[in-house]
């Protein structure tokens, strides 16, 4: 009878594959159009993350990097139009991280409101003093800006030490306003864009643990004859270290769009998080559309070159914002 069970399972899978294909067509053709990017929604995410995924065997492909960069450019554009101020572009293998210089250049040339600037990572490790760095060095073009914590800020907001955004009435402020006019030619808000990879995740937690260990050992060495005091860090303290309070570190995204850039081997495969930093996703709302459009899949079956990748689309972005706006947050209550 085991062959009956084996055959039954194959039948289940066939029926399921047909169901998924039909469901994919239904969701694309018969579900109502999402609201526009600039529509007023009940709530907007203050921090959006876009998690780009591709097949393992394509991570070294130059065309994948181009596809990721194109997705990042689109995401920044959509965020600006929707009024989202903080964006994290994430991919597991650090493809965007290694191309962050190029991304910064493209975003700079696309919109004069962005002034490239290298920011040092702002994760604070207690209580050991931070290691020396070259934070005073200037950004120098195409060099990869990935660092050991796997997080780079590409496009900073016009921050406190930047020219004042609002015009004043005094002579000095008029001078500042003219500088602000030189920097910003559009009225659209700027977007803080961070680029991250999996090295900003569990490895950072291990690094923080090592810093705490080192601090406890140093404390014990400064008091010879006494055993090292055990530590008792709280979740709030870890949150401060990992997400930061006063500087643009890796705060928790409110909404995450997970997007398969390369064609998934199975239609409508379930969402995966591709090693996105675990601490930050506690209350993150997810949006995931696992289906490639029928047209794209047909083109791909004809020839890979006709539809090599799926780029982030505005419709997908708008659907994500609509889902987020309708989400209810009870936080345990």
């Amino acid at each position: 009878m085991s062959w009956v069970a084996w055959l039954s399972l194959r039948l289940f899978h066939l029926v399921y594959a047909i169901y998924l294909a039909l469901w994919s067509i239904y969701t694309r053709w018969f579900v109502s159009e999402p609201s526009s990017l600039t529509s007023v929604r009940d709530k907007l995410p203050a921090h959006l993350a876009v998690n780009l995924a591709c097949s393992e065997d394509m991570t070294g492909d130059e065309t994948v990097k181009e596809a990721f960069l194109a997705c990042a450019e689109r995401a920044v554009l959509y965020c600006r139009q929707a009024g989202i101020r903080r964006l994290t572009m994430y991919d597991r293998h650090g493809i965007l991280l290694s191309a962050s210089g190029l991304l910064k250049h493209r975003l700079s040339t696309a919109d004069c409101a962005v002034q490239p600037e290298r920011l040092k990572p702002s994760i604070v490790y207690p209580p050991t003093p931070p290691s020396s760095d070259d934070s005073d060095s200037q950004f120098s073009g195409d060099e990869a800006l990935g660092d050991s914590v796997g997080l780079v800020t590409v496009c900073p907001e016009l921050a406190k030490n930047e020219p004042i955004k609002k015009a004043g009435r005094t002579k000095g402020s008029l001078r500042r306003r003219s500088r602000a006019c030189r920097i910003s030619f559009t009225a659209t808000p700027n977007v803080v864009v961070q680029v991250a990879s999996q090295t900003a995740g569990k490895a950072v937690l291990a690094s923080v643990a090592n810093r705490l260990l080192h601090a406890a050992q140093q404390s014990s060495e400064s008091m010879p004859g006494r055993d090292a005091k055990s530590i008792s860090t709280t979740a709030t303290e870890l949150q401060y270290i990992l997400e930061g309070a006063n500087s643009p570190t890796f705060s928790a995204p409110d909404l995450m769009i997970v997007h398969n850039v390369s064609c998934p081997s199975r239609q409508c495969s379930p969402m995966e998080l591709h090693a996105f930093p675990p601490w930050q996703i506690r209350l993150t709302e997810f949006f995931y559309d696992g289906a490639w459009s029928l047209r794209t899949r047909v083109l791909r079956h004809l020839a890979d070159t006709l539809a090599p990748f799926s780029l982030l689309t505005e419709v997908e972005f708008r659907k994500a914002l609509d889902e987020y706006a309708s989400a209810q947050f009870r936080v345990g209550r």
Partner: protein, 270 residues
């Protein structure tokens, strides 16, 4: 009287048919790859109760029966580790009446789970309580201890019951424990991700990496559950039905998705 007998016979026959159907489906699914570790966020008990116009506590009781049902299906399938999010640290913010009702339910049903005829006893499942148990009332702590003692020799499978749990609390505890162990042993080696992994609460039951994470009721968040365990190669499934409504028909597509993933992997990765 004849009508009552006939009705009862029809009911028993229907139950028998449902049971046969379930076993046939399970037998078919077992011919393919089966996940080793599945986790559930049992969400939607209160909304289910409100949709039926019953008390919230009745929704939680229905949720308990759903848990029994799901555990039975999964252990029949051969899943070795099941983790369920029964009560979050944040849930203590609910009304005292509801918290008391939930704690009372946990206290009563935990022992029922482990006794003769209970799911855990029947399938040789070891219960591991995961969470900050010291926050629970003494009666619940005692029930947990007894349940763990009753099942400690079971070796066929593990049930991680997350009670008074929060993933960030788990990660923080793992960091503290790992650091303090290194301090005590004066080990010169640095702390690695694997060290933190070994100190997660789910490691108590030697649970392998999570294969499937399921959340019911249509909510699209992880809500501080198994963040460390599910962020890599875990399939995340959000299903619209409320937890008390879940059954075999909801589990089938989840299993099929898992099998499709395993079959689509290159032979070198399998």
């Amino acid at each position: 009287m004849a009508a009552a007998y006939a009705s009862s016979s029809i009911f028993r026959a229907r139950e028998r048919l449902v049971d046969l159907f379930q076993r046939a489906v399970v037998a078919a699914l077992r011919t393919g790859p089966i996940p080793r570790h599945v986790a559930f966020v049992m969400d939607g008990n209160r909304r289910y109760a409100r949709s039926l116009g019953v008390r919230v506590v009745d929704g939680h009781v229905s949720g308990y029966y759903a848990l029994r049902r799901v555990l039975e299906i999964l252990y029949l399938l051969g899943v070795e580790h099941v983790t369920a999010y029964a009560f979050a640290i944040d849930n203590f913010k609910r009304t005292p009446e509801e918290v008391d009702a939930l704690m009372s339910l946990a206290q009563d049903r935990l022992i029922e789970f482990c006794e003769h005829g209970g799911v855990l006893r029947e399938y040789g499942v070891r219960l591991v309580a995961v969470g900050n148990i010291s926050l629970c009332p003494p009666g619940v702590q005692d029930a947990i201890r007894r349940a763990e003692e009753m099942t400690k020799d079971n070796t066929r499978a593990v049930f991680n019951l997350c009670i008074s749990y929060a993933s960030r609390d788990e990660i923080t505890t793992a960091v503290n424990t790992t650091v303090n162990e290194k301090l005590a042993s004066q080990s010169p080696t640095p702390i690695t991700v694997a060290d933190l992994d070994a100190h997660m609460m789910t490691a108590r039951g030697n649970s392998p990496p999570l294969d499937i994470f399921v959340r019911t009721s249509g909510v699209l968040r992880l809500s501080d559950f198994l963040l460390w365990q599910c962020n890599e190669d875990t399939q995340i499934q959000f299903i619209r039905r409320y937890w008390p409504e879940i059954g075999l028909l909801d589990i089938i597509p989840i299993l099929l998705d898992y099998q499709r993933k395993v079959w689509s992997k290159p032979a070198s990765e399998s």
